[in-house]
Symmetry: C2
Subunit: 186 residues, 2 copies
């Protein structure tokens, strides 16, 4: 028996919103809010971003396509599923198909929506839409933009699960998509 | 048979690093890097942050403790596992025990490390350390800081899985911890 939850906390009234510096990737907003618990005012950082999208591409043989690239945050190579930004007004499913084509050179027979996630609701306002792409097939060369340098790799589900267990694959948004398709328990 | 992966991509040589505005939560750095594929220089945004920690608290009855709070990024209530920042020099396991105590008023008999994740290697430099806290027991009142307004809820694993499936729980870093403990496939 689960006891009834206590009264929920209250929303924090907005006192002021001030635009911050331009970070290109994000629009920065400093919001002054009032803590309803104690009346204390607090400055909250908000990074406004377009939604993101990523996609778990599975071939007819059941292998996964992964992308290896240098990532500027961790200053190291990562192994990830393909993904990117949803353009303004673009359907997230079309963005997923586009990123799959651009970053892996493959197209999918079937694209299945997985539940979207909040990348970080504490300071980001956006969603990451996630898809499973089944029966992906080669459709031509990669279409990398000038700021990308990607290499595509093909791995079995067993190899992917091992790399997740070993921490080789550890981008949070890659794991939130993979865990909808594979059992990632230890 | 998985074919041998192609040659990996090369690291991007650093041309210049320029400090950006102070965002408190993050130290902003603009790094100019050279794309080894085409020689084109690119400005990369890097947000430097302390590591984070979160913890999956399970009671002796097998229920989970979750925290409901207003989140400034999405301007809405979220339901999450407890977590926070690792203090400078603090052991991540102690940070997990501290956040568990402060945000839920509980202590754990056993704290088991789950593999850490990269919150977002594209622009963040940090890790989120993750733990499973078993046999958590009440140890007193919450210890909220002036900038928090938390309510603790207790839910069965079945209820948690349902809320994950329904998108009620959708913070990416909550899912990356939960998927190590529960099968979150659709």
């Amino acid at each position: 028996m689960v006891p009834a939850p206590p009264d929920p906390p209250a929303d924090w009234p907005l006192i002021a919103a001030t635009p911050g510096p331009d970070l290109r990737l994000f629009r920065v907003v400093h919001e002054r809010r009032c803590n309803p618990r104690n009346g204390i005012a607090l400055d909250a950082l908000r990074l406004e971003s377009p939604d993101w999208v990523n996609v778990v591409p599975i071939t007819q043989d059941g292998d996964l396509l992964l992308v290896r690239q240098f990532r500027f945050g961790v200053r190291a190579m990562t192994l990830e599923i393909p993904g990117g930004m949803v353009h303004r007004g673009e359907d997230p499913a079309l963005a997923a198909a586009r990123e799959l084509r651009e970053e892996t050179g493959h197209v999918a027979r079937r694209l299945i929506a997985l539940p979207p996630v909040e990348p970080n609701p504490a300071f980001l306002d956006n969603l990451c839409h996630q898809y499973l792409a089944e029966d992906v097939e080669p459709a031509g060369a990669l279409e990398q933009d000038p700021g990308e340098d990607l290499v595509v790799e093909r791995h079995s589900p067993e190899a992917v699960r091992r790399m997740v267990a070993d921490g080789v694959i550890r981008h949070s948004l890659v794991l939130t998509a993979l865990c909808r398709v594979f059992d990632l328990r230890r």
